[in-house]
Subunit: 385 residues, 2 copies
């Protein structure tokens, strides 16, 4: 099986944007890449063939959800997550840390690990760094994430530092726990909004040595420019030749900005969850499909989009499906939003290849400013249970 | 546009089964045919391309639902139901009569028509035979149905006769109301369980003259053998050269039996509704996918099935999707059940072509008897609102 490998193909000269290629045992991923979220072993509403058709190369699975249902041992027994869900391409699994963080009062963190109660049946479980690796090895992800503690926002220096120390200790234990060489393991940078702590986190993780590095603890309630400030300062410090992954981000604007700071990988539930809620992305505007003004509209959602939904259905039909609660509403809307994100990533990659990323970004943000719609705050959109 | 035309290709010599071909403006349908139900302008969970892939040639749309939401004038304005829902093949629309019957206390029948309250917002509407034709002309169905009164079960002779007289008067008014020649119009035989009334109904409808004839008022609570008795006696009396349509039926067993009595067309929500409820058809058994015995089962639902679901997914995965309430559960389950029904129709048509329908039927019923599963009574499965 091919070893994990990352290669930078091109660097933009007026920004920190990178155009790369990530080779995994289940295929190659062009970066910058956006991974749709397949929480429970399915990207909600889409078949794997549809995902491929939409240009998706890599998806994310949630360890927390999969270990509770149907259980990682069952998935191992059935040949691993790829086979279980019929997705032959690369998969990244998170560690479960963020979901446990989202449980609030239902979890208790100690040096050993995270004790939590299932959101399904209230049963108690202990997730240690070693167990998170074991689960992800059972799932067979191409990329595994270290268990981390997501530092809350806001956090004082002392709180953020204590949390960071725990995350760093867990990172070392995760690194030591892995038994399979065909899976990559990424470390997660924490430190809250405190840049010196973030810098220390980068150095410590690089000393341990990972196949890639993620920025965690962002999009948890802080302002947009605060999040971007951390990414802008910290991303360039991450080891140059390894993929850089910004976890749980974000809106198209967030992605365009953070690519400029050197981020290679993104995941977020925004395109899929918004689709199910009838909020649809186009280049010109955000469309709330239930609005009465779409009632008789024979035009497609986005006349510039090449997706199945835009090629075959009117806004009037999509509104009708949404208003009547039809399953096909969620399917067609998800197809569009996922394709919208993948087309954005294609445009981003092309702009970097042509060394005009900075100009692309400026133009994109100007257009978005003009057509700004009702996308809620980013912190609603991480995949908590 | 091609005129409506029905042709019998082959007749079984040991039963009344017929193998035919129905030509409509939107394509040809091989009969005996089963039409999946697309109540609100979508067969729940499936794209039109998927329906084609599953072998579906014709679908049913519900006038009652479509006229309430999004409204037939809107659909006319957008080019008709075919274009609205992106289904290029033949469509049959019911008249709305059965849904109004299902409203119970929310409707009042008079000689003029049916006054009813919307199940959505309680608004009052009047559906007359003329209006039912007007709506179906706006929708642009290939086959329209006359407005009828569904005779309740049980009904005395007097009740059934009064109801039949109303239906016959409405049938004549429907016939007179049509303005488009490119759409077929079917009459509906009523008469409850009283065979003399049913016979009178057949004669009166044939005198008016329709493009096809349906048996209505069945699967409304009567016993299986009572339903089959009516079909066995009455279907052969219908005009030989016109399609015979048994409305709202049924289980695979019902279909296999009623084809032997000369029925050419069926529709029912059983395959689609059962799929969404996790009840799946196979040749050997009915599978309740939530049962714990499927938890670790790596085998497909039906190893003899050629559908997308059976080719790619295990029972364990389907159970997981169902238990977690995933959209994909409904999609994959619907794919399987619809394909199961279409494969049954393919086998039925082949058996008639090879003049061995009676033997096929005996063998099929024996196998079903051995693998009988928990399919509820048929009367739960018409598409009431």
């Amino acid at each position: 099986m091919a070893a994990f490998h990352f290669q930078i193909l091109k660097k933009d000269t007026r920004s920190a944007a990178r155009r790369g290629e990530m080779v995994t045992p289940h295929g190659t991923v062009q970066t910058p890449a956006f991974m749709p979220v397949g929480t429970q072993g399915t990207v909600k509403g889409l078949t794997p063939e549809r995902l491929r058709e939409l240009g998706v190369e890599m998806i994310l699975g949630n360890t927390y959800h999969l270990t509770l249902r149907p259980g990682h041992e069952l998935i191992r027994h059935l040949g691993g997550l790829h086979r279980f869900m019929n997705w032959p391409g690369p998969i990244l699994t998170d560690s479960g840390g963020f979901q446990i963080y989202s449980l609030g009062a239902l979890r208790k963190i100690s040096a050993d690990g995270a004790l939590f109660q299932s959101h399904i049946d209230g049963s108690r479980h202990m997730l240690t760094p070693e167990h998170a690796v074991e689960i992800q090895e059972a799932l067979g992800a191409d990329v595994m994430m270290c268990l981390d503690e997501c530092t809350p926002y806001p956090a004082t220096w002392e709180q953020a530092e204590a949390s960071l120390d725990l995350t760093l200790a867990w990172a070392a234990r995760s690194r030591a726990a892995r038994t399979r060489e065909d899976q990559a393991l990424f470390g997660i940078v924490q430190g809250g909004m405190h840049l010196p702590l973030r810098r220390r986190s980068v150095e410590a993780l690089a000393d341990i040595g990972f196949d890639g590095y993620a920025l965690g603890g962002l999009s948890v309630g802080e302002a947009k420019d605060q999040m971007q400030g951390v990414v802008r300062e910290i991303a360039p410090l991450l080891p140059e030749g390894r993929p850089r992954y910004l976890m749980g981000v974000g809106t198209p604007e967030d992605i365009v900005n953070c690519v400029a700071y050197g981020i290679d990988m993104f995941d977020c539930v925004i395109p899929t969850r918004c689709a199910r809620n009838g909020l649809l992305f186009t280049n010109r505007e955000k469309v709330v499909i239930k609005h009465a003004r779409h009632r008789e509209d024979p035009s497609p959602l986005d006349c510039l989009c090449d997706c199945y939904t835009c090629r075959h259905y009117s806004r009037a039909y999509l509104r009708h499906l949404y208003m009547t609660g039809e399953i096909l509403a969620m399917v067609l809307n998800t197809i569009h939003n996922v394709r919208h994100y993948q087309r954005l990533m294609e445009r981003i990659r092309q702009a970097i290849e042509e060394n005009r990323y900075d100009a692309f970004r400026s133009q994109f943000l100007d257009e978005q400013e003009m057509g700004r719609g009702p996308i809620p705050r980013n912190d609603h959109f991480q995949s908590g249970p």
